[in-house]
């Protein structure tokens, strides 16, 4: 991990990663597909190996966050006011971070290369490889974000502060459309990520969201029970 930028005034930190620094476990990809190591067909096993070998070539991983302490809370409407931006984070997320004194607004991307490669294979009719690349991209960006979150946690621990889990628009009832407001709190084109009119992040394999910071904030090892999504790709994944 390489800290590429630190803008003290805005409390912004930006990182870039080499793929090999992520230490991605093949098991994560296997689980995401629905298999166990034992039940994985050999052909798919080989496809995963082939895709993972290309990791360095197709990834362009960047991420970062901005911390703000300009916060106020509207508990009646489950709104958080960050500077002059109102985010309706809904009840579930509101309950998890309402004791925060600071909030980190984060983004992370695996880069455009993975999605391009996935689409190329799909276009050529190799749906399986295209699919494996797509899932690989999801694992890469989440793994990179894990490292950034870990770095944030360590940095805050030095100051005697704790951090919450990370929460993203599109999950736990938080409307994806709120992503535009979230991005307005970050430097323009932060980490090379942009939003389409429909709030889709470009590159596609990107994540964004908020993390609560404070003395009385809690990190939960298990959070799928608080979310009512029934079709989330990651539902209970870490606990399978």
């Amino acid at each position: 991990m390489h800290l590429t930028d630190r803008l003290e005034i805005m409390n912004v930190e930006k990182f870039s990663f080499k793929y090999r620094e992520l230490d991605i476990k093949k098991e994560s990809l296997i689980k995401l597909m629905g298999y166990s190591k034992e039940s994985l067909p050999q052909m798919i096993d080989e496809e995963i190996d082939e895709v993972m070998e290309k990791g360095e070539e197709v990834c362009n991983i960047e991420g970062g966050y901005r911390i703000t302490n300009n916060i106020s809370w509207d508990k009646n409407n489950f709104n958080i006011l960050l500077e002059n931006v109102v985010l309706n984070i809904r009840r579930v997320i509101f309950q998890q971070i309402k004791k925060s004194d600071n909030v980190a607004i984060f983004v992370c991307t695996a880069g455009k290369g993975i999605t391009d490669r996935s689409r190329e294979f799909m276009k050529e009719g190799d749906l399986l490889k295209g699919y494996v690349y797509d899932l690989f991209g999801s694992i890469v960006v989440e793994s990179a974000m894990d490292i950034i979150q870990d770095s944030l946690q360590k940095g805050m621990a030095i100051l005697g502060l704790k951090i919450s889990n990370r929460y993203s628009p599109g999950y736990c009832g938080w409307d994806v459309a709120e992503q535009r407001k979230l991005f307005s709190l970050l430097p323009e084109q932060f980490c090379g990520i942009e939003l389409t009119d429909s709030c889709l992040m470009q590159p596609t394999k990107s994540v964004s969201g908020i993390i609560g910071i404070g003395e009385n904030v809690k990190y939960n090892n298990y959070t799928c029970n608080i979310c009512d999504s029934s079709n989330c790709l990651y539902k209970n994944l870490k606990y399978r």
Binding site: M33, G34, Y35, P41, Q42, M43, I44, E47, S118, R119, M122, G125, D126, L127, L128, G130, Y131, V132, D134, G170, D175, V176, A177, T196, D197, S198, C199, L200, T204, N231
Partner: protein, 222 residues
């Protein structure tokens, strides 16, 4: 059913593409969908029979396993590859009109949305059930759907969206299509959707998985 057609059906279901493919290990070294389809034609089995009695049932079996949670997406995709290997031998018969499709299915990811994995899987499954599939790709505007329906007036339409922000665009597309073609059948699918949303926007059918769409289309074609 002849022994050959049964073998061909198994190859599609299990994803045995051709003789050299090592998957599944239980069929290693044996002929795959590619060779068996060619053989079936050489034996004089009618192309329509090959399609209806081997290829479609093979895809249907893997589709059922998938909706029951007994198979995962990669196995569906391998089966599709086996089906494609067999279909290349049948292509001339589609062109000549000797094989009749069940109908035409026009599919696309709605405008504003660029996700295509789910849409591709549905397209592939429906094609494997005997329909001609016209895939309009991603970020498809209402006018493109309407224009395509003009070309294929008897088609059934499928709309896909992955985001809550873009599923709202389905309503716009359904409205535009229904303005011109009030009776047009429109299927909708995608992670954030529900039956309730389908009813609200006036679409004809919602399925949480590809096999549900296939079952619906079976009734349409009957």
């Amino acid at each position: 059913m002849s022994d050959l057609l049964e073998k061909l059906m198994n190859c599609v279901e299990l994803g045995k593409i051709n003789k050299v493919s090592s998957f599944p290990p239980s069929l290693k070294g044996q002929d795959g969908a590619d060779e068996l389809c060619k053989m079936a034609l050489e034996e004089g089995i009618k192309p329509q029979v090959i399609l209806n009695e081997a290829l479609i049932p093979g895809m249907s079996k893997i589709g059922e396993k998938f909706s029951q949670g007994r198979a995962f997406v990669p196995e569906m995709l391998i089966s599709a590859k086996a089906m494609t290997a067999a279909m290349k031998h049948l292509k001339p018969f589609f062109t000549s009109g000797e094989i009749k499709r069940k109908g035409t299915f026009v599919i696309g990811t709605v405008f504003g949305d660029l996700h295509d994995i789910g849409k591709n899987i549905v397209a592939m499954t429906i094609e494997g059930s005997g329909w001609e599939v016209i895939d309009l790709g991603v970020d498809v505007k209402p006018e493109k759907f309407v224009e395509t329906i003009e070309k294929y007036p008897d088609c059934v339409v499928g709309l896909s969206a992955l985001l809550t922000t873009t599923m709202a665009n389905m309503e716009v597309i359904v409205k535009e299509i229904k303005n011109k073609y009030p009776d047009k059948l429109i299927l909708v699918g995608g992670a954030p959707l529900s039956q309730e949303f389908c009813n609200k926007i006036g679409a004809s059918f919602y399925s949480p998985d590809p096999q549900g769409a296939v079952e619906f289309l079976k009734k349409v074609a009957a």
